[in-house]
Amino acid sequence: MTGETATTGGMLLEATGITKLFGALRACDGVDLSIRRGEIHSLLGENGAGKSTLVKMIFGSLEPNAGEIRWKGQPVRVTSPGIARKLGIGMVFQHFSLFEALTAAENIALSLDKTTPLSAIAAKARALSNEYGLPLDPDSLVGDLSVGERQRIEIIRCLLQEPDLIILDEPTSVLTPQEADKLFVTLERLKGEGRSILYISHRLEEVKRLCDRATVLRHGKVVDACDPRRETATSLARMMVGAEVHAVARAASAHAADAAPLLELHSLDRAPTGPFSIPLKGVSLAVRPGEVIGIAGVAGNGQGELFEAISGEALQPRAAMVTIRGKQAGQMGITARRLAGAAFVPEERLGHGAAPVMRLSENLVLSRHATDGRALIGRAGVIARGAVEAATKRINAAMDVRKSAEDPEASALSGGNLQKFIIGRELDRSPAVMVVNQPTWGVDAGAAARIRQSLIDLARSGSAVLVISQDLDELFEISDAIAVMHNGTLSKPMPIAEATYEKIGLLMGGAEPGHVPHDAMGLS
């Protein structure tokens, strides 16, 4: 375990025995962590291992139930982010803590101390953004900015406070590989200035490349500490998960290239629906039986809008824009599209794919009341409870959904188990077309592997599967071809044999001919 923690001198931060309880859950259980001056220290762990909880306690957004934090050798109580900032701790959040209706400068002002006049902040921010190569217009409204630009605001906001320790929570999960490379340059530079960086990630390759030391968390406990540069991706994964991760088995796709597509999009357009939403422009795609098509892209480039358009939650201006099993479905609602043979799994589990305060059996009715009307709904619209409960049980068994009660409310399940239920609910129908947005976002490795395998198996049994994901590793693992979504347009699918991270990454950044790169737009 971490033997060196308390003894080594010259530590910037030493946390010992940190414990945080959420009800019965021990999110952090006696965690020790020490960070040296001028190092990039990685905090590794699966989703739900307790990484975010731990850093929120260091940053003062959460209060630990037990444990001690020493800063530059002195014991401190970080009871609020304000105190953390005064000490010299800055943080870049995973889910940005930005205000969409305010400008970049106003956002920055909010985290600075009260003496700095608003007018001075914009100038300072501009200077810093030039110095570190993070282009930014302080007067632009955050709601209009891309995810990458928003992250720059977070970073500049953090740097303006001259922190000794910078915490970054999954910073590359929203970046293209090329944008991530630029970020690493900035981080190396900060390290060169003698600052320390606590880098949270579950991406092993970048941790190996960037970090000096790593602390590994599993189920809220420190399970290992190591020098990631001397480990392999496999050995790091083993530390994180605690067991060998089974690779997904992908038999060669047996589909005939000339088979009629089960799902087709023809020049799909969609006007923006809200002040900050992305319009879809001429999206075309065909998914044939037996294949998995992946759609890659940085968050906020129209993936959510595309999903709603395919699912029928948003209708199209013309019926021919979407066809399902040859039927023109553009003017059909989601129920009619389901009846035509399609199944959908949205990105948001709680509140979209499932109603949080409703039981799993009720959430089964949610998406199946029409397609399985005869089995689940009796005369006069009375719900057949027995049949619904039996089907729920069947799905839970098939997907190995782990739960604390016989029929718990959806919000009581962990993210991974709820996602297994939601995917299982659709697979149980053996749909001809399956459209999934972010199948394994925030899901632990075991559940993620099971979900990916089930999607591949569905395709190999003759269905068409469309997977929208921001996780490139996932797409390379399961897709037969990958298309890229950027600024509301979709590239041609690239067969997996030709696709590389670099090629896909360039497309994600908008490098396809005819597109304006993001950075150029941000600076104009």
Partner: protein, 361 residues
């Protein structure tokens, strides 16, 4: 001292059942304190409010007369609120129900047969629905906030009734007093047990409506649709339900029921159309709906409790000289405390000492 909410992993069924009781008990305690403060004996006052009306047959009938409209309206409002459609204009829909239903005996005084009452009731329901359809139309078509529009229409309905009762529908033989002709027996909702007291068939409507909607809400796909659309509208749309249709459903149902209550009140309890026909039933029913935990059967119990405060207020004024205005305070207080106690269903409340008291006053 600092108050902190900790979300429960699952909502507490125990608390869901107990919270209205806690709220009622707290109301009694605060009531007792108010009585002591104004120098009245708390025991006797609470007795006059909450027990005395239950001891005599005639006052039980009075209780039923007051509870019926509250229950009928509240059942509809429960469904509307569960679906996240905030109809707070039931008072106006009640009035329009009363007006529409009354048209038959007033405009066609000669039409007196077995069809008179059913037609009046049908017209009453349609009147309430029509008035409720306006905010629904404005919400679905123009995205207009239904809280404000439904409330504004209450004032319009009140003024409309005032105009009718003093003008077009006034009894020509009424010596210039506002109010229509008195309804003939064929247009009067009969009493259930005339030998014992005045409770009319409105009570039967109330119980029937409550049981029917309880069944719909707990057992059928429609009830499921209402609950999903209210709890997670996005999940509801994912299920293929239409939020616009749900808005219409909620407003037509709650408006129609308020209209039913309105014509029942005019035909059963008042016997003519007057310039005012409601002591604020449409607003008190909001309290009934919440006190009944937005459950149609709960609304029955809550309807009787609130009716008791009306009767008790009158009784306490006569026996102890306490202002009957206090009844309205009790009603408001009760709703406040019910809402506060409902927090316990989803959260555990923890008090932690040692932090600045600024946050929890």
């Amino acid at each position: 001292m600092r108050l902190q909410l900790v979300r429960r992993p699952q909502h507490s069924s125990l608390m869901a059942a107990v919270s209205p009781l806690i709220a009622f008990a707290l109301t009694l305690i605060i009531g007792a304190i108010i009585f002591i403060a104004i120098g009245k004996p708390p025991g006797a006052a609470l007795y006059a409010y909450f027990v005395a009306p239950l001891t005599e047959m005639w006052s039980l009938h009075e209780l039923a007369i007051k509870a019926s409209p509250l229950i009928i309206i509240a059942v509809g409002l429960s469904v509307a609120y569960l679906s996240n459609n905030w109809n707070i204009g039931a008072e106006g829909q009640f009035i329009m129900g009363g007006i529409f239903g009354s048209l038959i005996p007033i405009v066609f005084p000669g039409f007196q047969n077995v069809l008179t009452l059913p037609l009046m009731i049908l017209f009453g329901i349609l009147g309430g629905m029509a008035w409720g359809a306006i905010p629904a139309f404005l919400k679905t078509r123009f995205n207009t906030n239904e809280i404000l529009t439904s409330l504004m229409l209450v004032y319009v309905a009140q003024l409309f009734l005032d105009w009718l009762a003093r003008g077009w529908l006034r009894d020509p033989q009424g010596y210039a007093f506002p109010g229509s002709i008195r309804f003939p027996p064929a247009a009067t909702l009969p009493e259930i047990a005339p030998s014992q007291g005045g409770a009319h068939y409105g009570l039967v409507f109330a119980l029937f409506v409550a049981v029917a909607l309880w069944f719909v809400m707990t057992r059928t796909l429609k009830g499921f649709e209402v609950r999903v659309m209210g709890a997670s509208p996005r999940a509801g749309r994912f299920a293929g339900f239409s939020s616009k249709r749900m808005t219409y459903f909620a407003f037509l149902l709650s408006g129609g029921l308020a209209g039913l209550a309105g014509i029942s009140e005019v035909s059963g309890a008042i016997g003519q159309l007057r310039e005012t026909i409601s002591p604020g039933y449409g607003f008190t029913a909001i309290i009934v709906a919440f006190l009944g935990r937005l459950n149609p059967l709960g609304a029955v119990v809550a309807g009787f409790v609130l009716a008791l405060t009306y009767l008790g207020g009158e009784a306490a004024q006569i026996s102890l000289g306490i202002s009957d205005k206090l009844a309205r305070v009790f009603q408001g207080l009760l709703l406040f405390l019910v809402l506060a106690c409902d927090t316990l269903i989803y959260y555990r409340v923890r008090f932690s000492a040692g932090r600045k008291a600024g946050e929890a006053a």
